[in-house]
Amino acid sequence: MRGSGLLEKNVIISLKDISISFDGEQILKDLNLSIRDGEFITLLGASGCGKTTILRIIAGFLEPDSGEVIFDGRCVNDVPANERQVNTIFQRYALFPHLNVYENIAFGLRLRKMKDKEIKEKVTEMLALVDLKGFEHRSVESLSGGQQQRVAIARALAVDPRVLLLDEPLGALDLKLRKDMQAELKSIQERLKITFIYVTHDQEEALSMSDTIVVMDQGEIQHIGSPLDIYNEPKNAFVADFIGESNILDGVMKKDFKVMFSGHVFDCVDKGFQENELVDVVIRPEDVDICEPEKGMISGVVTSVVFKGVHYEIIVDIKGFKWMIQTTDYSAVGDNIGILIAPDEIHIMKKSKYSGLYGDYSSFSDEMDFISDVNEVLVDTEEEIID
């Protein structure tokens, strides 16, 4: 269990029993987290889950109501932001509009009373790192979003932080640029070998960049683990749903390695549950094979088929539960199909407060997905205008 990982080696930051509330609303509750030196750790969750709050507490912009922030073995609760060895990349870059690119990057260095020559060397080095050579004298307002983000990164890294905090740094960029910057950030982190604490609501971003992912909801950590861990062995229904697509069914552990759901007893690889314990069963859409109805373990009727390029995404009604299945085999709406699931594709989770909330695709449609995306984009644009 990493949450109590204080004993672990190389821990650079640990949060102990952090609680904070705004206007009587509890944002974080007795949160414990340790972060190893040099790792790329991502706090993942929907907006309002408290991930940015954690970042701001580490940066020193917020003081927790209770609990301790330990940095390098020392409690830093009373150390103001300007004296902490952490730096932040803000979602809106927060570049100083009255300074040019050079002066933005030199800002922290000048505060450290460095000599002009050293500053020049450092700024040049940083500009090279973020691939912005020759932009020294440009006004930051004349740069594109991606270039501004690079300046922000250079500015933060120029002061040699031990930990870099990134608050949804790519949220305001368009998709293609975001992909490029993801790779670039990862490579910078690998080169500099400093700790990155990255906040995002984009699970794909989290999966592709992180060493460790912390999935959060309602101010509590739901799951800490490697991307693979989180995808394959989600701790509860929330994590399973949040990361990728999942069919989450109510099941009963008959005994070790035997679980019953959808009226069928499946072989599985999980054990250690009580006999007849109610559990949540997760099956990823791509882990289901389809076959003739009579050959399947269970069977149902196809209600929707969408061609996705590499595969079809089909919704199958099995005993009233709508499954999502991703398969390369074509079937038509109305077809009766059977499905097969290998034992190691079945993941059993203990019942939690999230049980029964997720995992049924009865209201699913592409259109719905699209609308929710649009909303996100709109919100982003609005903020930009206000900015």
């Binding site: 020193g60 103001p80 932001a81 300007n82 809106r92 100083f96 006004s139 004349s142 933060a156």
Partner: protein, 703 residues
């Protein structure tokens, strides 16, 4: 797409420009006039520009105005910035809201209310602290800061709101303490708005008349107050020159800032070409940059120029012209025990020889002679002066009210008895102007000037010299007759025709005089005061009653004008020097009165003001250009039955004001005004009902 400007659009633009700039064009044009007329252009001359720099009172007022504007706008900008910062970071919403509401009230409050309430407050605080005469530079500064502050806050706060709060965090993150972050990031971010707020506060301060008027004291008066108080005589054309200079300064600033903005734009557009990848962003940023640069450049230049102007005006030497010719008992003044003290003189505007056009600067000479510092400020009417004295907020040592006002002030115990032993030159005052009705025992006043009302006519339009005030009722001159635009003077003429006592308290008399004026109304072209100069000088009207002293000024610009002394008589008036109860330097004031009665000083004033002087020594001087002038000094038989105004009882005053109001607002137009207002109100109400019904109608379909 072609964007052609249509002809009506062009015409409209031209029209707007004419409306906006015609007044300024006229002002600039007449500032180069060699004469002081505002209707007749004699020849091109820079006379008024030279006059301006010799007009010490105006230059001093300008200096005061700029000084007050600079100090008050700096303080209010700093205070406003602090307030805006506090408001921005305050977390309590209702608190923020109520502060903003409180902040906005002074802006919608009429200036006059603000002015009066501040005056009362200052005087009240003064009373508590047992201080009289609190009004002065300090109170003006406080008042200016007070009315500038809301605008400063309103200028800065929105920019604060639009500021990314991460900016300050980023600064702290990179190592700034909160204070460093404020100075290194917040302040530069707000700089354009702070400067705009400063410039706005500066112009508001320069502009303000109403509030300044109420809270100003004896030793500090600003330009707007000075210009306003010039109405006793007329606004001197050096003010046109000053206004022209101010306008040109502002204009040059604008052109310069536009020029540099264009240069900036060209540079920006070159930038734009090199960054094609994010066009939308760039255009937005460019617009933002241009706006900001524009403000920055403009504010920088204007700040620079206003500082130059301030230094320039401060460095103008204040000097008196030589007075070697005037034998005055110099030792008497030199050895007065009041050397080093301050004397606050409160006089009508343009009512003293002030050094203009080579005349003697009476006040400066007095200062040189006695070592007493003279704070010379102006008022516009007896009533204004009375209000200031009565309020007790300002300590004046010497005032020059008119006859009826002296009567009132004596009644109300607002004047001090003079020690005539300190005023030996009182002997020069003609007996004719001693022991007048308001001061029968010569205890309170020394007469300064004498004037009376006469009938001015244009000989080109009126062929036989009128002998009676009834000429103003003559239908032959219908539409060519001007009449006083002040009730007491206007009623007096009707009363003279009716053979009444000008100070009658019988309501029937006033009613009859009213009927007489009503009868005259159809032939009257306009009821005017100062405008009379322009209209008569340009020959646009045939007949007008006015004060003789001012007739002489008019005649300089139009030789066709002549004056008649109607057989019914006229109103005669004197303005006399008095010392108010609140005086702090009575001895110096008496010295000043004595000085003003010195024949040479009296002469300078008499020449400058063009009113008759009561000083017998002056009347005999050969160099006095109005010596024996038949207009200023008509035969005693003409003036013997001329009447002074007395202070009217309150009820008679009220009756007169009401009747005057009725006269000015014609019964017909009165009703049509009300009808117009009623129609407007009905239309507004109907529209409100319509809008309400439409909304209700639509709401029915919402569910």
């Amino acid at each position: 797409m072609k964007n052609k400007i249509t002809i009506p659009a062009k015409l409209y633009t031209v029209l707007i420009f004419i409306i906006l700039y015609a007044p300024i064009a006229v002002l600039i044009f007449f500032s180069f006039n060699s004469s002081n007329s505002t209707s007749v252009f004699n020849e091109f001359s820079l006379r008024w520009y030279t006059e301006l720099f010799n007009d010490t009172a105006t230059i001093k007022a300008l200096k005061n105005t700029l000084l007050l504007a600079v100090i008050s706008s700096i303080i209010s900008t700093v205070l406003g910035l602090i307030t805006a910062t506090g408001l921005h970071y305050s977390k309590t919403k209702w608190y923020k809201k109520s502060i903003m509401t409180a902040n906005n009230i002074p802006m919608v409050n009429p200036d006059i209310v603000t002015g009066i309430s501040m005056m009362l407050l200052f005087i009240f605080v003064g009373t508590i602290l047992r201080q009289s005469g609190v009004l002065g530079f300090g109170t003006m500064l406080i008042a200016h800061i007070t009315f500038e502050l809301p605008y400063v806050i309103l200028n800065i706060l929105p920019r604060f709101k639009s500021m990314d709060k991460n900016l300050v965090e980023a600064a702290k993150d990179l190592g700034c303490t909160p204070v460093q972050a404020f100075f290194k990031v917040t302040l530069p971010y707000l700089s354009a708005e702070i400067f705009a707020a400063f410039v706005m506060a500066f112009t508001l301060s320069i502009d303000d008349f109403v509030i300044s008027y109420f809270v100003s004291g004896p030793e500090f008066q600003t330009l707007p107050i000075r210009i306003y108080s010039m109405t006793k005589k007329r606004v001197t054309p050096d003010i046109y020159a000053l206004s022209t200079l101010i306008f040109v300064t502002v204009f040059v600033l604008l052109v310069l800032s536009n020029y540099s903005q264009n240069k900036q734009k060209r540079r920006e557009s070159m930038n734009e070409n090199s960054i094609k990848n994010n066009m939308k962003n760039n255009i937005k940023n460019n617009m933002k940059n241009n706006m900001k640069d524009n403000i920055r450049i403009f504010t920088k230049i204007s700040a620079f120029l206003s500082i130059v102007l301030l230094i320039f005006s401060l460095s103008i030497p204040v000097s008196a012209s030589s007075v070697d010719d005037y034998p005055i008992n110099i030792e008497y003044y030199k050895n007065s025990p009041y050397r080093g003290s301050t004397l606050n003189v409160y006089n009508w505007g343009e009512y003293i020889s002030d050094g203009a056009e080579g005349s003697l600067n009476v006040n400066v000479y007095f200062e040189e002679l006695t070592g007493i510092k003279v704070n010379y400020t102006n008022y516009d009417s007896n009533e204004d002066m009375y209000a200031k004295i009565k309020s007790g907020g300002a300590n004046y040592d010497l005032i020059i009210p008119s006859d009826y006002m002296i009567a009132r002030m004596i009644d109300e115990n607002l004047l001090l008895k003079l020690d005539y032993a300190n005023i030996p030159n009182f002997k020069y005052i003609s007996n004719e102007y001693k022991s007048l009705y308001f001061d029968p025992k010569d205890e309170y006043s020394v007469t300064y000037t004498v004037g009376y009302v006469a009938l001015i006519y244009n000989t080109k339009l009126v062929h036989e010299a009128p002998t009676s005030w009834t000429a103003l009722w003559d239908k032959r001159y219908a539409g060519n007759i001007l009449m006083f635009n002040n009730p007491r003077d206007a009623f007096a003429i009707a009363q003279l025709i009716l053979g009444q006592d000008l100070n009658s308290t019988n309501p029937d008399d006033w009613q009859r005089a009213y009927d007489k004026l009503l009868e005259q109304k159809p032939v009257v072209r306009a009821y005017v005061m100062d405008e009379i100069y322009n209209i008569m000088e340009s020959g646009a009207a045939a007949l007008a009653p006015y004060y003789v002293g001012d007739f002489l000024t008019m005649q300089e610009n139009n030789e066709d004008l002549a004056v008649a002394f109607p057989k019914e008589g006229a109103n005669i008036f004197v303005d006399s020097m008095c010392i108010p109860k609140t005086a702090k330097n009575k001895g110096a004031a008496e010295l000043y009165i004595n000085y003003m009665c010195e024949p040479e000083i009296s002469l300078a004033n008499a020449e400058y003001i063009c009113y008759a002087t009561p000083n017998t020594a002056v009347l005999e001087m050969d160099k006095y250009s109005f010596k024996g002038d038949e207009i200023l000094y008509p035969d005693a038989s003409v003036t013997e039955d001329y009447q002074y105004f007395h202070n009217l009882p309150a009820e008679t005053q009220a009756l007169m004001s009401n009747l005057w109001g009725d006269l000015k607002v014609d019964g017909q137009s009165n009703i049509s005004t009300y009808i117009g207002l009623a129609v407007f109100a009905i239309v507004m109400i109907m529209y409100a009902i319509y809008a309400f019904l439409k909304k209700k109608h639509r709401e029915k379909f919402y569910d």
